[in-house]
Amino acid sequence: MIELAQVVQAPKIDYQGLAPLFSTIGGSLAVLMIGLFRGRFVQRTLVPAVAALALLVAMGMTIANWEAGDSRPIIEGALAIDTLALFMSMLFYVTGLATVALSLRSDVQREVGAGEYMALLLGAISGMVVLAGAENMVTLFVGFELLSIPLYVLSAGYVRRAHSLEAGLKYLVVGSVGSATLLYGLALLYGATGSTDFRAMAIAIGDTVAVTDPLLLTGVALAATGLAFKASVAPFHQWTPDVYEGAPTPITSFMAVATKVAAFAVTLRLFDYALSDAQVQWGPALAALATVTIVIGNAGAIAQSSLKRMLAWSGVAQAGYLLAGVVVGTQLGLQATAFYLAAYLFMNVAAFAVVIACERVSEHGDGIESLRDLGRASPLLAWPMTIAMLALAGFPATAGFIGKFYLIEAVVAGDYAWLGIVIVVGSMISLVYYLRVIAVMWMGRFEVELPSFPPRRVKAVAGRSPEADARAQPEVASVAILAAAATIFFGIVPSPLFDLVSDVGTSFGGLV
């Protein structure tokens, strides 16, 4: 009995390290409560302001916690912070802020309720932060679910639209299968290594457990599947276009960026840290997945006439590039992946912001037609979109170029030169659909040759017509401009980001 009492001894908690998480969770509760009050001011101004404040506070505390080197536990045996976790957290907060701004005028907020909407958003961000800092497979899973469940709800944000509901339901079902697979994989890993703790797992593999142990490798396969699902890596990407298209666009942009960052944060930690000794075994498998993903993503994106679907497919292809950085399992690969994630954030936020601005006023919705002649009508939106497209295609002097260059350098240094070639070829193919967007914006008369698909227009099942009142949208435009500016800035002056990611590279002590 006395032994038991010692087991439930209070864990050591580093409250300073935990502070950002307190901020987001506290913010989530606060907006939930504030959102109960009616009134235009509360719903339209106060709730988003509190949410943004929570994110800013979390950001500040994260910066205060920044320190290169090995990880420091914040809840013993469950959560730790290292530069990788902090860097990824920063990306989550930035995306969160952008999403708050993009949602300001979106009627999805009114439909769900501003308080609930922001609370779910902050909840998902908290889950991501937990996921990025997980030191232990149990915490990993808790974070994973904490991030997923709010997103299932948010994807179905337009509760009166069949399309949005379909997206939410699909995401829920496929997502649950993914979670279950992940959990099964984690269980097998526990069975093989006898520990849920990453550090203990890393020590056990190759020491007490052979790297060819079937139990271990089956666990790796299942865990990889679960994470691949979240990161929309082919062939587990199928939900992506449907869900991205159906979900409210601010949420799509959040999912496209933050979820991917979170999935890669934990993939990096699980594979490049806990399982790094088995790299010889899983490396080729992940490399194959990356190749398939790059091919399928780019092939799928070519024929899309909906911008959201196109960006979804492009996100699949980008996941392939990112996975290449994980494959090599080196410090350089870790840095390159972290760098590309940051670049990916800016490029995608800029693109989605423009899509949001245009779909609100265009009769074409998120069809590529909605951008027609945007260069003349609204250059302040056309330029960010142009920059985003060029950056996604890897055009020089953008962050996308540096990121891809870095990734290729990492895979070549990691003896996966052929994967570098795949990345280059994939980028070349991607020009087809990225440049088409640019052509539509700047050459108004340019006819887009696309196979005609049955229109999948978003129909209101009930209630008022969507988003007719947004014409002037300064906050959306500023998000687009800021993100595009960051894309260019880090393309020309990448050294600050390089400094950050070289700190991130020190996270996993043992990596070469």
């Binding site: 699909k170 079902v173 496929v174 299968v177 993914g178 697979t181 060819t212 142990d213 079937p214 271990l216 490798l217 089956t218 790796v220 396969a221 299942l222 990889a224 599947t225 691949a228 699902f229 062939p235 587990f236 199928q238 939900w239 276009p241 449907d242 075994q281 899983w282 498998a285 194959a288 997945l289 399928i296 092939a299 799928g300 070519i302 024929a303 350089l332 840095q335 540096i402 260059f405 870095y406 350098e409 240094a413 040759e449 196979p451 020309i492 002056v493 990448p494 050294s495 390089f498």
Partner: protein, 669 residues
Amino acid sequence: MSATAYGWVVLAAPLVGMLIIALGWRVLPGRSAGWLGSAAIGVSFLASVGMLIRLLDSPEESRALVSSAYNYVETAGFRADLSILVDPLSVFMCLVVSGVSFLIHLYSISYMTSDQGFARFFAYLNFFVFSMLLLILAANFVLLLVGWAFVGAASYLLISFWYRRGTATAAGIKAFVINVIGDVGLVIGAFLLFDATGALDYAGIFAAAPEVFAENDGKLVAACLMILVGAFAKSAQLPLHTWLPDAMEGPTPVSALIHAATMVTAGVYLIARCHPLFELAPTAADVGAILGTATLIFAASVALAATDLKRVIAYSTMSQIGYMVLGVSIGAYGAGLFHLMTHAFFKALLFMGAGSVIGAMSGIQSLDRMGGFRKAMPFTFVTFTIGALALASFPLFSGFFSKDEILAYALERGGLYAILGVVGYIAALLTAFYAGRMVFRVFFGASVPEAQELERGQLAHGTHANPATGEEEDTDVGFPGAEHHIAEREWPMKAAMAPLALLAVVAGVLGIPGVTDTLEHFLEPTFEGSRFAEVHPSTSAELIGLAVGGVVAIIALAAAYRYFTGDPQARVATRERFAGVHRVLINKWYFDEIFDRAIVRPVAAFGRFGRTVVESAIVQGVLVGGTVGIVRAGTSLARSIQTGELRFYAALLLMGVSGLILYFLLVSS
């Protein structure tokens, strides 16, 4: 201010000028865009002088300064700084480029007055100067490549400046394509060097090269040959020369600035800059020397027969750059760069004079239509003649000293190089002859109607037409402006030509054998590590060379005088006697035809084959139909998996999981 601070100013001034003109052209009144652009280049020139003074102040061993603005990329094993290198070579080049550019800007203010694209012209011109200076000051291959590609782009913009002229846009495209071939070569060369030495900055590469490479190491030779491809494409050397004559479609100041004085010498600069590498790879250097010599004799022979005044000068440019390439390839760096400088002076001057004459001819460029301008255009006559004499290396003119120094050096090194030197003297004979031909046909002989009109104080007004095809044109934006301008009536043109004429006469004093070696001495710190630093022809050998060169020039000029001012019947008779030779020359040795047969037509035929057989028969027949069919097919494939139905997704998910598990289980056993 330190030398490197001046260096940044040199770069910043034309950039700022370009931005102001490009963004503010709507509100800039009258000719102010031109003055602004000229002022920017003037500042650049003054800053270059500042660099020179600072450099001369410092001791010789510390005359190579690198300044880094910021670090663009730094990852494990790769770094690229935005950094400039200020050393005697780059300062020398900056002085030549910014100085000549300034005068040409000044000239352009008059020359382009009535053009509807006046401000656009100066924005492009400033952009070009900025790019060229960037190319020169770059301290590593990355920045060099940026400048290299920028000058190619600027050249394209300026050749195609009259963008409604079909011939001009075609010439621009041709120039751009060949320049891109060169860019690719240079990129590959830089990559090979980076791969072997792990550095991209000059200092790092040159320091590592002797340790990494053995003499004539295959990889190094390959890298140097690739650099040569870049240099030859930019400098219009055989066989990548075909774009330069066509580039004369651009406005005449552009021909003077880019296609005579500055950009085309970038290749010479590059070889001189990379001299430690070429000295380690003598094979590559020999290739450069031989091709340079081939170019100089080839181009000189074509210049004999060409009838378009600007094209004669263009071929002459190729030929003179051939001399420079020969010089820097055989280790005569000082001599090659000396010739680069004198050539910049007299060739820019020749183009300016030609522009003035073409103005008087109201746009006509054919030598056959010109004659007797001596009295009508005294200023142009004097300056053009000075330029031609310098080109012909007439004794005591600047070209006399610089060209003969290269040839004397070639003879001194003996063997193969002596043969090249002799070829150089033969070409010098041709050079003097065609230089004479230009002067005598344009300014001597019977006065053409335009000249007579001008003598009466009337500038000829012809129809506005494309000089190459005779097509009628209007004078709106995209075509040349309504008015023509001649140096006699525009003081900025005179102000630009007079200093150049002076320099074309006296610039030789920087390197008179046995008397002065100012330039050589100044450049010494850059080339002091060279293994040819001690190779130097004796003063007496050089003086003999000078004497030979002078005699050759005088004989050729005298022959030209007799031939072109004498009986026209005799000319026709000679031409008919050597009809075969003349045909070869007038067709530029059939180079365009050879290209056409060897490359363009096979490629086109292959394309036709692809379209008719592969595409229509195989693709359209077998597949669904054309490229659209492929997209459709790919799409329908993607769509057939992307049904939107959940159970398919779940099925694929399970298949994926099974595949992955299967793989891992196979690995485990």
